[in-house]
Amino acid sequence: MTVRVQKEDFDMAAELTTMRLSEKSVGAVVSFVGQVRDMNDGDLINTLTLEHYPGMTEKTLQAIENEAKARWSIINSLIVHRVGTLKPQDQVVLVVVSSAHRRDAFSACEFIMDFLKTQAPFWKKEATSKGERWLEAKLSDDAAHARWKQ
């Protein structure tokens, strides 16, 4: 169960290999990568800058991992989230989950992303051809989070 918040890029292939080989009981590894798009709301994106709340971010991500581990039979998980100024096609976030069987890893990976999107204190500001603007939270992300409530 690992969380990293960093400016540097990450090597997805290396992270997947580390996770796959970390335990002999691993039978499935599921991953999600988010990257910066070239356009948003019809405007070209020059840069995307991510701000966060150091301390709270790490605690929140660890709590999300713990909740995933409580709900599904997973062996390990990794969340890497970048901060600072990124360009289109730069990687933003990586979630990797390992388990004995695929279904637990698929579900836990999706759960972690849905919670991260609505709970972790990150904020995005994009510089577009029309100027700078903060992104607004999406109702669709709230709905994706709400469906996990039981």
């Binding site: 988010g34 991510l50 701000e51 966060h52 709340y53 301390g55 709270m56 605690k59 929140t60 989230h81 933003v92 976030v93 992303m113 991260l116 999107k117 609505t118 709970q119 972790a120 204190p121 990150f122 904020w123 995005k124 500001k125 903060w134 992104l135 607004e136 939270a137 992300d141």
Partner: protein
Amino acid sequence: MNIKVLYFARIKEAVNYSTEEITLPNDIVTIMALKSYLAQRGEVWANLFNGKQLIRAAINHELVADVAELKAGDEVAFFPPVTGG
């Protein structure tokens, strides 16, 4: 009591700084009361904290509701709904 208050994202840009120490009057004991107190600082603050904008609050790194109670030494943070991922 004294508390530390942090601002993030567009709230930080609007108030023009990120951190301050505040000595609160005795009757300010909840997040809701703190928001009303800050809203009295002028137009920029009123626009942010008069309840029309959705602003999240955290106490000591935990997301809290407006009824949450403050105690001396708390680190309070105000920020817009999050947009990471």
